[in-house]
């Protein structure tokens, strides 16, 4: 069926090696006790890894233009969902309201939890 490729194949093993190195970075970072380092090691690296996979393994950058746009729009919808829902669910009080049940669970949970 497919007789000729629409993509140029880069050196995949090299990209895989970079991904594994990034994985090691994020695991090592997680051993740190500084919150900022953990977060960057975890999520900053995850974004880079996801980009590398999407670019080199899924070839989104050489696909027709609208395909990456479509994927980004889908992610944007998720962001909209988060933005619309988080004020009610993530926060436990606001203008003229307070979610006492949630506050209660946080309080009892924090007491029960061992000191970090």
């Amino acid at each position: 069926m497919t007789t000729e490729s629409h993509v140029h194949h880069p050196n995949y093993v090299k990209i895989w090696a970079i991904l594994v190195a990034l994985l090691i970075v994020s695991v090592l970072g997680s051993l740190s006790s500084i919150r900022g380092v953990i977060l960057v090691a975890a999520f900053g690296v995850a974004i880079v890894k996801a980009y590398l996979v999407a670019k080199n393994f899924m070839h989104v950058t050489v696909e027709k233009r609208w395909v990456p746009y479509l994927l980004v729009v889908m992610i944007a919808f998720v962001v909209i969902l988060f933005a619309g829902v988080a004020p009610d669910v993530m926060r436990h009080d606001g203008l003229h309201w307070s979610n006492d049940a949630a506050k209660q669970t946080v309080e009892t949970g924090m007491k029960a939890a061992p000191k970090q």
Partner: protein, 563 residues
């Protein structure tokens, strides 16, 4: 079976009954499966409406054909009416049936791009319908926690009293979503990739655009609810606390996930209905559709805006008041592109040579009735007035002024318009007109009184107002009874349609290929179209709405005619 034989159509032996009607991959047969399943479900949904309206009109009387309506049964009947009418009538008929039938014919190819996925989609849909109807038979009865399934009512059998029914309801809805994701992705891919040579982006008939945009909106909005449904299922069956605030969850989350899907869903069913009406108006006004591109851009606007209005369903649910302000503004904004669409239809009618055949009557009926639905929506979209009107019969009436035009009126428009193509016979015009007036007039008799009872304060989902001192308004009873009588009249007129539908299949006047003198590709093939649709696959030379052209022998110019 080789490719050649399959496409030659008339050469291969007639398949057996099962293969022909139940295992076919032909898009036309799958469309018929969806259409007939949807019509059967519509009858069930209509019967349920009859049951609870009888309880409202004549409280605590024996309902013929059902029996006495107890509070629990009332909840089940109301829940299932909403669920069935939206998920098992509007969706399968408007999108799946018309989409399946018309997409390959209107874009000029032989079938869907993935016929077996198409067949699988219907089979999963049928399974979902069976699961849903089966839930009437389980212990405790069908789900009685309202079609929006808000937790904690839906999450705990101790609250909704229908523990098995609630789980089956969730499973049925989830299966139905899978069916429409499969079908919808297939639709989108087919329209994007399989169009006839020469059919450019702006040569696609508006109905096909609308169906594709609707399926894309469905795809983008259903995901979070699928995830939410899994979470609710675990809350029901595995004692998790996703929606239980005492255990770290939040019931508001379900409402958000539900309406993040639920509001785009309104436009998922509205857009195909708008598309059907657009096709019919252009044909019967013998005029080029006014502002094809404006229509498309408005539709895209509707599609994008539909994702940022969902919380207007939750103004009284305890959402953050500042968010309520945002959602009021976006909700009022979305009425602009929708109004734009209606203006474009009216502009198309202006100066046309209008023929009032039955499909056109339905199309005009859609515009008139949907307008009332749209205008009353403004009061509900503004958080200030919504706080008073929320959960009253005003909302019910508004909602039905949008959904009855969408799921009933435009479907009748579509069926009467494409019936000659589907079955090769014309429907009876006189019966069609009687049916039209017998449906549209009683429809207003049902819901105008409900606007009034709603404004007077009647809450929805109350099985008997006499049971609640603060709800009991005996002075309103005549309005509730009027509404019920309207429903009885409207339902009885549907018998005329059913008779006309089946009688015309055998006895109607034989339909030629193009009885309405239309330009689009589905009218260039014989009625009904053979397997493989086109004897010779067409090439497209122009847009779909070339009507009333001066200097031509015919007043229409088919899309596939070279000159």
């Amino acid at each position: 079976m080789s490719e050649q034989v399959q496409h030659a159509g008339h050469d291969h032996p007639e398949p057996g009954f099962f293969l022909k009607y139940c295992w076919s991959t032909d898009h036309k047969m799958i469309a018929m499966q969806y259409l007939f399943t949807g019509m059967a479900m519509a009858m069930i949904g209509g019967f349920l409406a009859y049951v609870f309206r009888m309880q409202q009109g004549f409280p605590n009387h024996y309902v013929p054909g059902f029996g006495l309506v107890t509070p629990g049964r009332y909840n089940e009947v109301v829940t299932m009416h909403g669920t069935i009418m939206i998920f098992w009538v509007a969706m399968p008929v408007l999108i799946a049936a018309f989409g399946n039938y018309l997409i390959p014919l209107m874009i000029g190819c032989d079938d869907m791009a993935f016929p077996r996925i198409n067949r699988l989609s219907y089979q999963i849909f049928l399974l979902s319908a069976i699961v849903l109807l089966g839930s009437f038979l389980v212990k405790g009865g069908a789900f009685g926690g309202a079609w929006t399934a808000y937790p904690p009512l839906s999450a705990s059998g101790a609250y909704n009293l229908t523990p098995i029914g609630a789980t089956l309801w969730l499973l049925a809805v989830a299966l139905e979503f899978v069916a429409f994701l499969l079908g919808g992705i297939n639709f989108t891919v087919t329209v994007m990739n399989s169009r006839a040579p020469g059919m450019k982006m702006f040569d696609i008939p508006i109905l096909i655009w609308m169906i594709v945009l609707a399926t894309v909106i469905f795809m983008a909005s259903a995901g979070p609810l699928i995830a939410g449904a899994v979470m609710l299922l675990f809350d029901q069956t595995m004692a998790t606390g996703f929606y239980d605030p005492v255990r770290g969850g939040d019931p508001l989350l379900w409402q958000h996930l539900f309406w993040f899907f639920g509001h785009p869903e309104v436009y998922v069913v509205l857009l195909p209905a708008m598309g059907i009406v657009a096709e019919i108006i252009a044909v019967f006004a013998r005029k080029k559709l006014f502002g094809y591109k404006s229509m498309l851009y408005s539709t895209w606007g509707v599609g994008i805006l539909s994702f940022v209005v969902w919380a207007h369903h939750q103004f009284v649910a305890g959402i953050d008041p500042r968010m309520a302000n945002v959602f009021t503004v976006t909700t009022l904004l979305i009425s602009i592109p929708v109004a734009e669409l209606v203006f474009l239809y009216i502009a198309t009618l202006y100066g046309g040579s209008i023929r009032l055949d039955t499909p056109m009557l339905w199309a005009l009926g859609f515009l008139a009735e949907f307008l009332i639905g749209g205008v009353t929506g403004i009061f509900l979209g503004s958080s200030g007035t919504d706080i008073y009107l929320h959960d009253t019969y005003f909302l019910i009436a508004h909602f039905h002024y949008t959904f009855v035009p969408i799921a009933i009126i435009s479907v009748f428009a579509g069926i009467t318009f494409w019936y000659p193509k589907m079955f090769g016979r014309m429907m009876n015009e006189t019966l069609g007109k009687i049916h039209f007036w017998g449906t549209v007039i009683p429809f207003n008799v049902i819901f105008i009184p409900l606007f009034m009872t709603g404004m007077a304060g009647d809450q929805r989902r109350i099985y008997s107002y006499a049971q609640f001192a603060e709800q009991s308004r005996p002075a309103l009873q005549h309005l509730r009874t009027t509404s019920t009588i309207g429903l009885l009249v409207m339902l009885s007129f549907q018998l005329i349609f059913i008779f006309n539908f089946f009688w015309s299949m055998r006895n109607g006047k034989r339909a030629e290929a193009n009885p309405w003198r239309s330009t689009t590709l589905e009218w260039t093939v014989p009625s009904p179209p053979p397997h493989g649709n086109f004897a010779e696959l067409p090439t497209v030379y122009r847009g779909p709405y070339e009507y009333g052209l001066p200097g031509r022998a015919d007043d229409y110019w088919p899309q596939n005619a070279p000159n």
